[in-house]
């Protein structure tokens, strides 16, 4: 059978979402960002809300997220995406507003902004990528870095006495009455990817119904920061990250 006999519209089982641009990705091979970007693009496409979506990118690896998804974007200062998104959502209440933030951005420098935006019940979706490390700046310790984990700024492993505890910010967020749906997902297997997409879809639908802040954490890998190949990184995440950051819905 010739390849041309296979590549036919009726045989199509999977395609790139039309909202994903053709720009060459800057993410490292094996990084979870690419998969999550694709899921967000698929959800916006399926809901037919491209013209109604305003996205806010963070400072960190996803600072350039605006290069990949074809919706209007604002690039926020480090950690301030929830404040930026709060204003957009209030000034344009007919829009779907989401932030896309990493763990350094959201759980460290932007802890005040996310807690207060969530506590006000701002009608925004927050996509929170937690890989336990600062990727963009070269693998420094994040507030989410696990105990004992070696990073550029905890070269002997995270010592609780010296650096404090890893922060379960999602558990904190879930306690706030302004949040409606709080979940923790991953994208390390096809099954996990499908579940994660359902979570993102639910979050976007909820925000369209003005149900308050929707929070989707995605426990992710950072191959470069963790200094592991993509397969090993996934294994390491399952063994070490999931026991401390268990997957599943925390609320809603």
């Amino acid at each position: 059978m010739d390849v041309k006999d296979i590549i036919k519209p009726e045989n199509l089982v999977y395609k790139k979402p039309s909202l994903l641009t053709d720009n060459v990705t800057h993410y490292c091979p094996g990084c979870s960002h690419g998969v999550v970007h694709k899921l967000v693009a698929e959800v916006i496409e399926e809901m037919e809300i491209q013209e109604k979506t305003i996205a806010v990118s963070p400072v960190g690896c996803a600072v350039l997220a605006y290069n990949y998804i074809s919706v209007d974007w604002q690039e926020a200062a480090h950690g301030r995406a929830p404040a930026v998104a709060s204003a957009i959502a209030r000034l344009m209440p007919d829009k779907y507003v989401f932030t896309y933030q990493g763990d350094g951005d959201l759980a460290s420098i932007g802890a005040a902004e996310i807690i207060h935006a969530a506590n006000r019940g701002e009608h925004i979706v927050v996509i929170f990528i937690n890989n336990g490390i600062y990727g963009m700046t070269g693998g420094q310790m994040a507030p989410t870095t696990l105990e004992g984990m070696e990073t550029a700024t905890s070269p002997y492993g995270r010592d609780i006495a010296l650096h404090g505890h890893p922060l379960k910010i999602t558990e904190l967020i879930a306690q706030l009455p302004g949040t409606e749906y709080v979940t923790r997902q991953a994208v390390h297997t096809p099954g996990a990817v499908r579940k994660c997409k359902r979570a993102i879809l639910k979050a976007f639908k909820n925000v369209g119904e003005k149900k308050g802040t929707q929070f989707v954490e995605v426990v992710s890998t950072c191959n470069s920061g963790w200094k592991l190949n993509p397969v090993k990184a996934n294994e390491w995440m399952v063994e070490n990250m999931f026991p401390f950051y268990p997957l599943g819905d925390l609320k809603g």
Binding site: E51, L64, W73, Q74, E75, R80, A83, L91
Partner: protein
């Protein structure tokens, strides 16, 4: 019929914002300007014009809310006082870098640090020379009356959108707290979505339209050559602003032998001082910069060719005086007189300073 009221400067900022069709105010309480947000919350403009008013968790969040709103092409603003304005500098430089129009009001109090809650003019450098990191300028308006607190809100938004640049009203605790008669602005409706589309649709995040590529609000450029090109574009914009937007007032300068240069509340005190001088037979005029960026350099340079000296009066340790010296360029003496820490100079103190430092009266 004109609407005259007796109002506080800070209250007028709030009233003028509603009347000029402001879409959103984001603030955080700090003395001596808390009346701005208090007035807005009392007036509940969201029920009337649809204006959003939000008390943020911090000045940092408030200025980033302004970034978000301005990025959507909305007329948005914040207000604060010195320590709070320091916190906002991060957002201000991002706003300048992303070329977003907005209005920032600083009702200045004495510093450094927590300083005092009393009036000062010690944030001149911060407002005029940059404040945050990187090469950028705000357009800076200096009101000297409650009337100008009213007028500069509308003017500020006009200039912000004309140049896609943040505008600061650099006021002080005197102008913010004192009550004067004010003629309030005509009520203008907020822009409709269609108007915003026309004015800012080419760059603002109003939702991607089928007939355009998606818009991105950002201050990031990783390619140095492109960043340099952008910096040059900003410089060209600031040069246009310098060319077109200089505003100042001259009082009794025609026959003056000496010039006092003062802005804001210091100019009000200096106005009395020149009256006292004239009564004593000393020919003194007042040059009041209304825009601090762009600065009225040209007129000062011209005056320097025909007067004997300048005294810069400001409630700081000597900040604006540097711009007077740059303009005068050594032609005649330029000296500074100021009170600090929230102390306000009297007209007689200004007269004595002029006599001692410039006229050299024995």
């Amino acid at each position: 019929m004109a609407d005259y009221k007796l109002m506080k400067g800070n209250e007028v900022i709030a009233e003028a914002a509603i009347r000029c069709g402001c879409d959103g105010y984001f603030g955080y309480p700090i003395t001596p300007q808390s009346e701005v947000m208090e007035t807005l919350m009392l007036k509940k403009p969201w029920e009337d014009t649809g204006m959003v008013v939000l008390q943020a968790e911090s000045e940092v969040a408030a200025i980033n809310m302004v970034y978000g709103g301005a990025g959507c092409g909305k007329k948005v603003m914040t207000s604060s006082s010195s320590p709070g304005i320091s916190l906002k500098q991060e957002g201000i430089t991002y706003i300048a870098g992303a070329e977003l129009p907005c209005l920032i009001v600083n009702v200045v109090r004495g510093g450094p640090g927590l300083g005092t809650i009393q009036p000062a003019q010690s944030d001149y450098f911060q407002a005029v020379k940059g404040g945050g990191h990187g090469d950028y300028h705000l357009i800076v308006l200096a009101p000297a009356s409650v009337q100008e607190m009213n007028d500069f809100v509308g003017l500020g938004f006009d200039l912000a959108f004309k140049y896609r640049n943040p505008v600061m009203i650099l006021s002080d605790g005197v102008i913010g707290q004192m009550m004067e008669k004010v003629k309030l602005s005509e009520v203008k409706p907020r822009w409709t979505d269609e108007e915003i589309q026309k004015i800012s649709g080419s760059w603002a995040t109003t939702g991607k339209k089928a007939d355009r590529d998606y818009n991105i609000i950002t201050s990031l450029e990783l390619d140095s050559a492109k960043q340099e090109e952008f910096n040059h574009k900003l410089i060209a914009k600031y040069n246009t602003i310098k060319e077109n937007e200089v505003r100042y007032e001259m009082i009794d300068c025609e026959d003056a032998e000496y010039i006092i240069v003062a802005y804001g509340s210091s100019s009000r005190i200096s106005q009395k001082a020149i009256t006292i001088c004239r009564e004593k037979g000393i020919k003194v005029g007042l040059l009041r910069p209304i825009t601090l960026f762009p600065y009225p350099t040209k007129i000062i340079r011209e005056l320097a060719t025909r007067v004997k000296g300048f005294l810069a009066v400001e409630m700081s340790a000597g900040q604006m005086v540097e711009d007077v010296r740059l303009a005068v360029n050594g032609k005649v003496p330029v000296e500074h007189y100021g009170r600090l820490g929230g102390m306000i100079p009297t007209p007689n103190e200004v007269v004595s300073a002029l006599e001692e430092k410039i006229i050299k009266v024995k």
